[in-house]
């Protein structure tokens, strides 16, 4: 499968089936639903980054008119340790304590209590009436401090994991990871040229435009229905059940439309709180975060400190590479240092390398997945180092990468041998791209970098209903975050052989379709798409059987071609082909309604590589960087909906550019974020960016019926280094830390000039 095939609809860009509702304001997002008798929940948050809770008195709030329920840590079940499972799960106890603090608050903005009241304003007044007495502790705010042996402890019970033996005392290092192969000392001895660099990147937020929101309606038997914006309502149900010690069957989760997530909506924050408030209040409770709460208490991606050393022979062959990487976990363990460590050298065929990675607790919000979690930071360091290496060797940076590029059969740094991958195809596409060789304006710079993400499969379910007129309804369980309904419809239409317009896709709630893991890990088009294709194949098998019964022939004498059942060549049956509509019209006589289904744990998600080319101009007086051009080249395996694949590449590029140039969490000495709003946490706006040119490379993934690789995450990886390398090219100075904001660039230019 997956060789060059002429598809009818796959690879086109039709209008998404949910489109009209989204351009007319009809589509219901997390905060758009209202229920009769509904009240409003709000969260009281810690004013300290690190403190012990000595006393919480909610009596004044509870007595206020219009206040229906108040909860705090004591209202939640004892938080037991154990794995949540699925995406972004981690430890149940940590998740539970992150939702509502128990004995300690661990970051500024950590929830300590919540109220439900007749209006948002009454709820806010009630929050102000809650008395909390704190014993303020010293906050741990940066990696260097946190990793020092005499550091104050974020968690007194944190003993470093993955060491050969449990350490004898606790520390802020929650876990370590090591990877390696060969002999790096010997490798560096063989090197003609060695480059070393140390790179710091501050935390950045996913920055979805829709704040978290939900409504919970809990009845008197304890059953609860929750409507919320989520990347995965099944996993939200599982997390809520575990945090509240509830039976999964007593929870129904309905996913609203989702206004962006990028990984940040793979974990619950409000939902269990809303369920509890609703249980106590006997009414539906709506909770909506403010933008400030989103910044202070959700996401972000880890801030990092990464050191990389690379050695190469004169011909560019890398002889050894080492990386040391520390990732901020925030207040609870679980920074993506594993994927960071496994991706840092993933594009390259290395004989000798060593990676050490650290998951480090600090008094900041617990990090959440953000598009290719861990990879943008680590690969930024490596791709900047390779840029320096190319300069020292006098080599073209693409040639240097081609010289060392992994290919089918290369043993990846994280263990296995790569199946067919598109890295070399992307590098060659970049080299041949007109944007790589077109002249730059005076003083401008150009940089390139490689990106990579593993992609995952995981569990998905799909049902396909054939309606009585032969139209098709696809039911699946993955919130549509960027046009996936259209992709599902395309794959169903292609498989069944019917026009795209004949197919509609809906997202079922947790009671109306089978379990599906989150929309994350770039898995939806791959894994859920695979389930949809299998469910359509189930329909085809049934249609062939029904046609055979109608014609009085054997099933193997019926073919399915171009959306209809036809007699196989040589079958002596004087019959007209039967379309899906014909078979559906006669369904009552041939066995009842047509329902196809599939559920699977998709294996073989193919890795997706990318190459980005950035052109920038730097104002040496103000330090402002103008992005003149940006080219994203990526292996999609097979693009199902071409425009939405480009959209992923362009959107990831914009997020990566934001991280490279502007975005950062800025804290004061007490651990209070200083820029918790879109005015000061500046994500790219339309006037910051040029058009983003895309080239989709297609090296089909042999594990998917149409060759799909996930495409959603890889796009954010390469822009950081591509941009930094372009700035290096423009100003002639390597600036190691991000963001490349005007003050940092001016300081670097001043320092170099003095």
């Amino acid at each position: 499968m997956a060789e060059a095939v002429d598809y009818k609809v796959i690879g086109t860009s039709p209008i998404r089936p949910d489109g009209v509702d989204k351009v007319t304001g009809r589509a219901q997002y997390g905060a758009d639903l209202n229920l009769p008798n509904m009240i409003y929940g709000r969260v009281l948050r810690s004013p300290h980054a690190h403190a012990r809770i000595k006393r919480i008195d909610t009596s004044r709030a509870e007595a206020m008119k219009g206040v229906y329920s108040v909860v705090s840590g004591k209202d939640f079940p004892e938080a037991e340790h154990g794995e949540i499972g699925g995406e972004g799960g981690g430890d149940i106890s940590d998740l539970a304590k992150n939702i509502m603090a128990r004995d300690k608050v661990l970051y500024h903005g950590h929830p300590v209590a919540a109220v439900a009241a007749r209006s948002q304003r009454v709820a806010e007044e009630a929050l102000a009436a809650i008395e909390v007495e704190y014993e303020v502790l010293t906050p741990v705010l940066d990696l260097d401090t946190a990793m020092a042996s005499d550091a104050p402890l974020v968690d007194e019970n944190c003993y470093t994991k993955n060491l050969p033996e449990k350490p004898d005392k606790p520390s802020n290092i929650a876990a370590v990871m090591q990877l390696g192969r060969g002999d790096v000392d010997q490798g560096f001895e063989q090197a003609d040229v060695i480059v070393e660099g140390e790179y710091r990147i501050p935390a950045a937020h996913q920055g979805y435009i829709e704040p978290h929101a939900c409504i919970a309606n809990t009845n008197e038997s304890g059953q609860s229905t929750v409507w919320c914006c989520t990347q995965g309502h099944f996993e939200f149900r599982a997390m809520t059940a575990k945090v509240l010690n509830m039976n999964v069957a007593d929870l129904k989760f309905v996913a609203s439309e989702i206004g962006g997530g990028f990984g940040g909506k793979t974990v619950v924050y409000l939902e269990p709180v809303a369920v509890l408030l609703s249980r106590k209040a006997h009414r539906p409770v709506k909770m909506m975060m403010t933008r400030e709460e989103v910044f202070r208490a959700t996401g972000p991606a880890s801030g990092t400190h990464i050191k990389v050393k690379v050695g190469a022979r004169k011909d560019g062959t890398i002889t050894a590479a080492t990386a040391w990487m520390a990732y901020e976990a925030g207040a609870f363990a679980g920074a993506p240092m594993g994927p960071g460590a496994m991706s840092v050298f993933a594009p390259y065929d290395l004989e000798n390398f060593k990676v050490e990675a650290f998951d480090v607790l600090v008094n900041k919000p617990k990090v959440a997945a953000y598009r290719a979690p861990g990879a943008p930071q680590s690969m930024h360091a490596m791709e900047c180092a390779l840029d320096e290496l190319a300069r020292k060797l006098g080599m073209d940076p693409i040639d240097l990468r081609l010289k060392n590029a992994a290919d089918e059969g290369t043993q990846a740094p994280y263990g296995p041998k790569f199946p067919a991958i598109g890295l070399k195809a992307c590098l060659n596409a970049a080299k041949n791209h007109p944007n790589y060789t077109k002249p730059l304006p005076e003083g401008a710079g150009r940089g390139i970098a490689v990106g990579f993400w593993f992609n995952v499969g995981m569990q998905s379910s799909a049902e396909v209903h054939i309606n009585e007129n032969g139209t098709v309804t696809v039911v699946e369980g993955n919130p549509d975050i960027g046009g996936s309904r259209a992709s599902m419809c395309l794959m169903a239409a292609e498989t069944l052989g019917v026009p795209y317009e004949q197919v509609r896709a809906i997202i079922g709630d947790t009671e109306s379709t089978g379990f599906s893991n989150v929309t994350g890990g770039s898995r939806t088009t791959f894994a859920t798409g695979m389930a949809v294709v299998r469910a359509c194949e189930d329909i085809i098998a049934q249609c062939r059987a029904r046609a055979a019964a109608t014609w009085g022939v054997d099933e193997d004498q019926v073919l399915w071609e171009d959306g209809q059942a036809t007699p196989a060549p040589g079958v002596n049956a004087d019959v007209k082909p039967l379309s899906l509509a014909d078979i559906a019209a006669n369904a009552a006589k041939t066995g009842g309604p047509l329902l196809g289904r599939a559920s699977l744990n998709a294996q073989g998600a193919g890795a997706s590589f990318s190459v980005n080319i950035a052109d920038v101009q730097v104002d040496r007086e103000t330090g402002k960087v103008d992005v003149l051009g940006f080219t994203a080249i990526q292996d999609a395996g097979r693009a199902i909906h071409k425009a939405y694949v480009e959209g992923q590449m362009q959107g990831g590029a914009a997020q990566g550019l934001g991280w490279a140039l502007n975005e950062e969490y800025i804290y004061d000495a007490n651990g209070v974020m200083q820029n918790a709003g879109f005015l000061d946490y500046r994500i790219p706006v339309a006037s910051d960016l040029p058009m983003i040119d895309c080239e989709i490379v297609e090296v089909p993934n042999p594990s998917h019926p149409y060759g799909v690789r996930g495409v959603g995450e890889t796009p954010i990886v390469a822009p950081l280094a591509a941009t930094a390398n372009a700035v290096r090219d423009a100003v002639g100075i390597r600036i190691h830390d991000l963001p490349l904001s005007p003050p940092r660039i001016v300081a670097a230019i001043d320092a170099a000039g003095s």
């Binding site: 995406e87 990984g263 793979t266 496994m342 296995p416």
Partner: protein, 80 residues
């Protein structure tokens, strides 16, 4: 025999052994054989992802193995 390679963070499970050869026709048998050799290994290994001949499985269990197959245990990958 199937070649099995463990990452650094699982070496505590195998008593420091990085690579072993095991007789197994499928992944379930592999886990059983490893549990027999390294008591207590089953749970941490079942929680890991594994690459079988280059293909990464988040939940390997029923996958067939062939003589000469290579199995690399690795950290589960999540995503955004």
């Amino acid at each position: 025999m199937v070649r099995v390679v463990f990452p650094q963070h699982l070496l505590s499970v195998t008593g420091g052994e990085r690579e072993v050869a095991v007789e197994a026709d499928n992944f379930r048998e592999l886990l059983e054989a490893l549990e027999a050799r390294f008591p207590g290994s089953r749970e941490p290994l079942a929680k890991s992802a594994a690459a079988v001949d280059g293909q990464i499985y988040q939940d390997a269990f029923l996958e067939p193995l062939e003589p000469g197959s290579e199995v690399f245990f690795m950290q589960r990958i999540e995503g955004g």
